[in-house]
Amino acid sequence: MLQSKAFMKKTRRGQVVKVVREHYLRDDISCGAIFCQSCEKESACLSSSAPNILIVDTNVTLHHIDLLENNAIDDVVILSVVLEEVKNRNLSVYNRIRALCSNPMRRFFVFANEHHKDTFVKTMPGESPNDRNDRAIRSASLWYQKHLGQGPPILLLTNDIENKRKALQEGICTETVQSYVESLGRPELFDLVAQVCDSSLAEMDIEDSRPSKKKLIYPEHRPMSEITSGLQQRIFHQGKLRVNRYNPIEAYVNSESIDEEIIIYGRINMNRAFEGDVVAVELLPEDQWKEGNTLKLIEDEEDEVEEKVGLAPDSVDAAPTSLQAKPGDFGSKIGSRTCGRVVGIIKRNWHSYCGSLEPMPMPAGVGGAVNALFVASDRRIPKIRIQTRQLGNLLDKRILVAVDSWDISLRYPLGHYVKTIGDIGDRATESEVLMIENDINNRPFSEQVLACLPPLPWSVSQDDLKCNYREDIRHIRVFSVDPPGMYQIREANQMIEEFMLAANISVAEKILKHYPLCALLRRHPIPTPKMLEPLIRTAAAVGVKLDITSSKSLADSLDNALGNNDPYFNKLIRILATRCMTQAVYFSSGELTPPEYYHYGLAAALYTHFTSPIRRYADVIVHRLLAAALGLFKLPAVFHDKVQLNSLADNLNFRHRNAQMASRASVELHTLIYFRNRPTDAEARIVKIRSNGFIVFVPKFGIEGPVYLTPKAKDNNGEESCKNSADWIVDEEQQRISTRDGKRVYMVLDVVHVHIEVIEPQPNRSKLVLTLLK
């Protein structure tokens, strides 16, 4: 066991600290080849029958993870230096490559080259970390070549020209990913190869042609050093970019360094940032804050602002975030909001996206690579340019595409095909798309999970009876109160709900008493007056006064809100009320103060989920806490770990939200399928008044969407829209819209009749449209 020391300097919060760490070099690290004579073979997986043993560099791993995940690629050595770099640059790729390495079906081996005595390299004076890591990769490749002399040839895959040249000099077989995939002779793999606008290639382009010739669409991102210092000086602000779901050319950044939400209008200002990217934002000068509208006009027409008809939202979380401040609606409001532009991307949130190709004619010639535009079904994602050799197969399919790069000279990012999900419009395919988009894992349970279950057929054993914490109640008559098809006993049901609430509350009290710092509870934040404002305004417009001082007073005033001879009025007001509130969330009691534990919706000081452990994981956690509180079992270790417990609560909330989104999306999908061949007329209620129409809610189908009174204005024809909207007068205070002559008046909560039908304005993107019946 040799020892060497790695010296490095590390900056932390601006301070320069010298960190000295030990670095042990070993002689007992296995090479991972099954046929190796000298190494230990416990975890070995590289086979002797492989045509090549591949070693990949960091960039290949980062950009071609989809290719590596394909079954055609096997017998790959992943070096620890590569893993470390991948981990620092993209955690999701790191997790994927780790999953590949631990998958017993695949032959991926992690070689700890950094701790092997023969492959470790020391940084030379003046050598950059990148060059040093490339040298480490070459040194490991060379060692493998020598070590496995008689086995399959070692092949280093790298797209870095300099690294490739040096490797060839040192006598290492090396190829680029493209040429390697070509040599495999499997055309279906070509689509998986990432299209990377290699910086070295781009530089060569510039040398070839004069810089002025290259048309730049987006501004260059600032260098990282400038961003870091800018963030410190508060010139730039860091935050996560959130694209408006209903208007993809508008995005928001919430930064800790500034109180307000920064709005970013237009793709140029968004500067190639994707939804979820962590970005650095610079504020625009105040006189440009009003320019949101004009900026919008220079965008492509496909990016038109559009609201879709969908399932009625059931809480604030599900509703569009800032429809009120939609450009064009209330121009005065935009000026008062902070606008900014993205100057750099700190962390990319790129992953795979579901969608379909934009229809295009089949080009002449067969089998060649074709450029196609991919349109994600998530509207927040820009179109992605991909190269494919199987265009004919893909045009009518839902496919998964990953993003690779986005150069300043390209309008759209480059990406590559990952896999086909199925035919467009097919119920199963579209459902699968919803699952993928909401990150829901619907794979069957793994062997390990199933192994936890007792063998079938199961019966009560002697051990179960002897168990001192279980009670045999088989002699008591147990019955279900909600057998299928029984509706008479609704009151008993209601009773069950009361009991469930009581059980949940008493369990919450018990676990909190025993574990004040780590009880898993559920809270429902009290809505702020601002959140309830739209409700109060609507109610006031129809002459109902709501008291929002407490949940009790609100509930009472909701009870008293009875419309004149309108049986549905009360229900509608209630629906609008729930919509103003956020969702309840799980949390660990150690994170908040007792007043914050409050559950507003249930008006309970404490609440948790306990009653349904067979369908909710949160209940399982609470059962474990309760069992420990009663002294039946030990408290599992996770409850001692604050960080782990918090991440558990966060994950519960995240999964819950995703499940709800998926469920809503699924209902919307089926609604769309239902109306496809069945245009229907139905009664609807107006829930919100707009400048050019109103939003209606259709109680019979639970859908909600805009009804336009004026023909929809086209972006490049603003004049016409002005003329049209001038015919209608909107009274925001009274929540009513009327014609100039006062002949037609629409008030909020009024009954209107609408026609529901499905249209397909863009291919493969059919949508529901509501039109007013006169």
């Binding site: 020391k5 760490r21 030990e22 975890s43 620890s80 631990s102």
Partner: protein
């Protein structure tokens, strides 16, 4: 994401496997003025110990009639950590560590053979990289042996911890600050007696037993190393005095 202290390949951040200690180095007789002295290194942790005594008790009122008075002072050099910060003498942490080292050594010294005397142990951390109190106990133990003070057994000490669901031996600074439990054990290996057992943070009992077992093994390994160092030292002395001929 929590830091990955052990890779799935079973290597720690510095390249050790979970049950491996860092490289040990020890030297005896490094301070001529002292009656006994030693340096002890566990990887990048480096401490020096000096022992004075047995000598007359300085403060008569503290004199014990039936046994020796053992005093211990632990201190850290200003340059022992990365940032050169002036450290106050006698802060809570060093008072506590002085106390545990004294108690641990007292259990090994045959104090009843040296009544009405005083033994001073000074331990000084030259470079800190986790596990300083273990290294101090080991250094003190060697220095006492170098001073020729009668002891029941060598005291060997080692720390162990529990991170990423794995018991780890001999934590370095990075692992020490990982937030997991840190168990320091001092052992009289021949007598199989524990003279010091400390743990911060919580650990379920069954896990603790595994961690404790591992720490014990570490102590035994360190004790063997210390015995060899002492043996070599004795051989050198014997050779220097002409007792042994080559």
């Amino acid at each position: 994401m929590a830091l990955e202290f052990i890779s799935p390949e079973g290597l720690r951040l510095d390249g050790r496997r979970p049950a491996e200690i860092r490289q040990l180095r020890a030297n005896l007789g490094v301070i001529d003025k002292a009656d006994g002295s030693a340096t002890f290194e566990m990887g990048n942790t480096k401490v020096i110990a000096a022992v004075y005594g047995p000598h007359e008790v300085q403060n008569r009122s503290q004199q014990l009639l039936d046994q020796a008075l053992v005093k211990c002072e632990y201190s850290m050099a200003n340059f022992s950590t990365g940032d050169r910060r002036r450290k106050q003498k006698g802060d809570r942490r060093s008072v506590e560590i002085s106390l545990v080292i004294r108690q641990s050594m007292e259990a090994a010294i045959m104090t009843h053979l040296l009544p009405r005397t005083q033994i001073d142990i000074f331990v000084h951390v030259l470079q800190a990289d986790g596990g300083t109190r273990s290294a101090c106990i080991n250094a003190a133990s060697l220095a006492l042996a170098d001073a020729g003070i009668p002891m029941r057994d060598i005291v060997a000490s080692c720390a162990s911890g529990y991170l990423n669901n794995t018991p780890l031996l001999d934590l370095n600074y990075l692992e020490d600050s990982g937030g997991g439990p840190d168990v320091t054990i001092a052992l009289l290996p021949k007598l199989d007696k524990i003279t010091l057992l400390q743990m911060d943070a919580k650990l379920p009992l069954e896990m603790f037993e595994k961690v404790f077992e591992l720490g014990n093994k570490g102590c035994v390994a360190i004790a063997n190393y210390m015995r060899n160092v002492l043996l070599e030292n004795t051989k050198d002395l014997a050779f220097a005095r002409g007792v042994v001929k080559v």
